[in-house]
């Protein structure tokens, strides 16, 4: 039974629960609802909630946990002696998974898959016809594992359907059995709803756990295959699919930092000066349209900046700066990406700085102006020093943005990992390499793919540290004047 149909049935049971629960409550007091503790709909609601919610939680949990159990079962069936040279059991499992998916596809089309499982050759050609390309013919133990995986999958699906329906019915019966005029249905509904609200707030925690777990788990996997000291201290990045790669993060980090520094050199003066002008000089009406206009820059998707770098800024820099000055002839360069990223980051600097400058107490300005300082002297010697911690926080937040940015560097910075000082040369960044190592068909057992997780972990830690420092600084600063 498909999950959609199962959900519909459970929803139907819940609606039935609502109607029956409500009727039962009313019937017990012979229509005199004043004798009920709660209004009749509450009796219906609590019954419906008890029917549907546990069943849906069961389905979700089952679907998440199912692959773990199934794979272990299939993995145990693979005969280690039959493994082709250089292939781990996990690589074979990837094949098993693909064959099983292909067979399911064939079955969905109405083909008979029984005879295919008996003959590896026929299976291979049938799967090729269905768009699942296998390198070699599956070995008998792979086939056995595939069959086991499929059997277990079907059994598990059936068991899940049964369990979910049973749980829904049990919830319904339990809900109905509790109904009597003294039952505090309103309080029970409230408590139930409260637990639901709390569960949804856990999604945020689970997301973080998911991010950290997936990054850590695969990174540990990577560091088992590739020495960590090489990864962190080698200056050569040369992945070779087929083994013998050098995967040093230093050239990537260098590219990332170089691009980010150029971006900040562009964004900080422009953003800061705009913020100062808007906060201290601009009239109310100018501010009302200039501020949103600058913030549009933050609302534009990064792919748009990427295309802008690729099509407009890159060729422009190459034709008017790099080539005439003999600095290189690549249209993707650190300068291109840095410049465009700088434009993107301007509003992050300006908006936050603007807020922070506005939070400096007016009395400080009045004092300075009263002593005869000009407005610019007041800004430079009183307002900015007072706002400095907050501005540093804003710049750090902008830096974390720049370091984590992907599309602009993918399209503007190039793909060659280099340790060079020339800003007109193409270099690459951590994010670019995460994209290039993980797109396309990849096997999750080679260090060339797994390195992306280690890169992701580095990136995550870097931006997290910057964000935390920035937030602490900004918060401290805010408290100072509140």
């Amino acid at each position: 039974m498909s999950i959609g149909l199962l959900s519909l049935i459970i929803l139907g049971l819940a609606i039935a629960g609502y109607v029956i629960g409500r009727r039962k409550a009313v019937a017990q007091v012979e229509g005199d609802i004043r004798k009920l503790h709660s209004l009749p709909p509450f009796y219906g609601r609590i019954t419906a909630l008890l029917t549907a919610v546990p069943a849906f939680f069961l389905i979700a949990a089952w679907l998440l946990a199912q692959p773990l159990f199934l794979e272990n079962k299939a993995l145990s069936l693979i005969n280690p002696a039959e493994l082709p040279a250089g292939k781990s059991a996990e690589l074979v499992m990837a094949d098993v998974r693909r064959v099983a998916a292909g067979l399911n596809m064939l079955e969905a089309r109405g083909d008979d898959v029984g005879p295919l499982l008996a003959s590896p050759t026929a299976l291979k050609s049938a799967l090729n016809g269905a768009g699942v390309v296998l390198e070699t013919e599956p070995t008998p133990s792979t086939l056995a594992a595939t069959a086991a995986l499929r059997d277990a999958g079907a059994t598990s699906r059936l068991a899940m359907t049964g369990a979910a329906l049973l749980l829904a019915l049990a919830g319904l019966a339990f809900g109905l059995s509790r109904i009597n005029p003294e039952y505090r249905a309103r309080n029970a509904t409230e408590r139930f709803a409260m637990w639901l609200l709390m569960a949804s707030s856990l999604v945020a925690v689970l997301t973080t756990v998911g991010i950290v777990a997936s990054l850590l788990f695969e990174s540990i996997h990577f560091f088992r295959l590739y020495p960590a000291s090489e990864f962190f201290f080698s200056t050569v990045w040369k992945p070779q699919f087929g083994g013998g790669s050098s995967l040093g993060i230093l050239p990537l980090l260098w590219g990332t930092l170089y691009v980010s520094v150029i971006a900040l050199i562009v964004a900080v003066p422009i953003g800061l000066m705009s913020a100062i002008y808007l906060a201290e000089y601009a009239s109310r009406s100018t501010r009302a349209w200039v501020k949103p206009a600058i913030e549009i820059l933050a609302g534009i998707p990064t792919i748009v900046y990427g295309l802008f770098a690729l099509v407009t800024v890159g060729p422009l820099l190459r034709d008017y700066f790099a080539s005439p000055l003999g600095l290189g002839n690549s249209s993707s360069s650190v300068m291109t990406a840095g410049l465009v990223m700088g434009i993107m980051v301007i509003p992050f600097v300006s908006s936050l700085s603007d807020d922070i400058i506005n939070a400096v107490p007016q009395s400080l300005r009045d004092g300075s102006l009263g002593l005869g300082a000009t407005p610019s002297e007041t800004i430079k010697q009183v307002v900015i020093p007072a706002a400095l911690p907050g501005i540093v926080g804003a710049v750090l937040l902008a830096a974390s943005r720049a370091i984590g940015e992907t599309m602009i560097v993918v399209m503007g910075a190039g793909a060659a990992a280099k340790l060079s000082l020339d800003p007109f040369e193409a270099m690459t960044t951590v994010t670019v390499k995460i994209v290039s190592q993980l797109t396309g068909d990849t096997e999750f057992a080679s260090p060339e793919t797994l390195v992306a997780f280690a890169l992701g972990l580095t990136l995550f830690c870097l931006t997290l540290a910057l964000n935390i420092v920035a937030l602490v600084i900004v918060r401290k600063y805010r408290e100072q004047y509140e």
Partner: protein, 450 residues
């Protein structure tokens, strides 16, 4: 006894007065003016960058909405297209696009001859290259859908090849055509004659919004259909999941949560999630949803789930602000006349906070719509020509997404795709502007101050 001057220079300049400034005051005032000019020029630079960006995108992209078409009378010869003569669909399907391509070319040749146009140094068979490789397939589908057309002469409106189209958009010139093996100056000269004869026209191309992607050599036929459907599916998933979970989380944190370590943990989490680079969400999607839970690659459901997790903090933060803005007196009044806490919230607080919640949700959705990097990692870059099925099964079919389609087109060789990518960005920006306009409208219309 004279007072010692504070400033030695002021003493030297005896002309200083209220009306005449001394040099030091002048210098200070000049610094003031300069400083102000710096600020103003920073704003001007930022705004100019915005204008430059928009001009560059619109300049490159607007031509994508127009396309060069060739209008031809084509006689659908039954002897060629239906060898069995029984109009049997299986028989009709045997006539391949190659046959239809030859048919189109000979029709164009006949038309050129009838109009008495000068072929130049071209052989008649070179005419095939002036018609898009996609056109025979379009014609074939039309005939297969309506076999009664066979044997009649119909007027067809076919796409001209990418190079001819590029000639009218300024991408291809006579000089570049001479070096290009896909076209020739003679073709372009003939195209000019066809244009004067009214056979060839550059007109609005609705196919750009409705057709699926096309292969590497056919930029003229590439459209955004699948990408728009895929993006809509993903936005649907995000809306259905992120709005209820986001509102529930905000209600819990604002109205119910006790102040303890656990609540603090959730708050810190949400603040940090908002700042995690989007590519990290892509890694999460790849390892949890695809590798662990076994969902299919390139499917809108996976994209929607990843974007949901990304959008959640962006919905929670404005929703909490909206809930905070509802005055406590409203809660007190509802509780005072006997409503429960949940009733207070669902009957009074949420409806009053709704405009703020909706504004935040729409802006969060708009950001999710433009997000590219996480989608690259979950396989949305795949070349997809088939429209996904209707929901809910269609959510599991492979599809593309607007921003990923743009990225995809920028990676292709033919220069015609740059125009397509810029055109697609205009479509994306139109969606974003529309969404933000709705958000601003909500805010203006329902905003309430207590």
């Amino acid at each position: 006894m004279t007072a010692r001057p504070l400033n030695p220079r002021a003493a030297i300049d005896t002309r200083a007065s209220l009306l005449v400034q001394d040099p030091r005051t002048k210098a200070r005032n000049a610094t003031e003016k300069r400083f102000r000019a710096y600020g103003l020029s920073a704003i001007v630079v930022a705004l100019l960058a915005l204008v430059w960006l928009l001009i560059s995108i619109f300049g490159n992209g607007l031509p994508a909405f127009k396309q060069t078409f060739i209008t031809l009378p084509v006689t659908l010869d039954a002897a060629l297209l239906d060898k069995g003569g029984k109009r049997d669909p299986a028989d009709l399907a045997k006539a391949t696009t190659v046959t239809y391509g030859k048919l189109l070319a000979s029709s164009l040749e006949a038309d050129v001859a009838a109009k008495g146009l000068n072929l130049g140094d071209m052989k008649p068979k070179d005419l095939t290259k002036m018609i898009s490789e996609e056109s025979p397939a379009t014609l074939r589908n039309r005939v297969l859908a309506d076999p009664s057309l066979i044997g009649t002469t119909i007027e067809v409106n076919v796409l001209a090849s990418g190079r001819i189209d590029g000639y009218y958009k300024g991408r291809v010139t006579m000089e570049s055509a001479a070096l290009d093996k896909n076209t020739s100056p003679a073709q372009l000269a003939l195209a000019d004659q066809l244009k004067t004869a009214g056979v060839m026209k550059t007109q609005i191309n609705p196919g750009f919004l409705t057709m699926p992607d096309a292969s590497d050599k056919r930029p003229e036929a590439a459209g955004l259909g699948v990408a728009i459907v895929g993006s809509l599916y993903m936005m649907f998933v995000v809306l259905v999941l992120a709005l209820p979970i986001g509102v529930a989380t905000s209600v819990y944190l604002e109205e119910f949560a006790p102040k303890n370590k656990f609540t603090d943990l959730i708050e810190v989490n949400i603040a940090n999630l908002a700042a995690v680079p989007s590519i990290v969400y892509g890694i999460l999607g790849l390892s949890i949803f695809i590798n662990f839970a076994g969902l299919p690659q390139s499917a809108p459901i996976v994209g929607g789930l990843v974007l949901t997790l990304m959008t959640l903090p962006r919905i929670i933060i404005p929703t909490r602000a909206a809930l905070k803005a509802v005055p406590p007196s409203i809660r007190d009044a509802a509780l005072g006349i006997g409503a429960s806490r949940l009733q207070t919230i669902t009957h009074h607080v949420l409806p009053l906070a709704m405009p703020g919640i909706l504004t935040g949700t729409i802006i969060g959705l708009a950001q999710a719509l433009g997000e590219t990097a996480p989608l690259l990692l979950i396989g949305m870059v795949a070349f997809v020509r088939d429209f996904p099925g209707g929901p809910p099964e269609g959510l599991f079919d492979p599809a593309s997404a607007l921003p990923v389609q743009i990225y995809n087109w920028t990676q292709r060789g033919d220069p015609g795709f740059v125009e397509r990518a810029s055109g697609a960005i205009i479509v994306l920006l139109v969606f974003l502007i529309a969404m933000n306009a709705v958000a601003i409208y909500f805010r203006r219309k329902f905003e309430r101050r207590w």
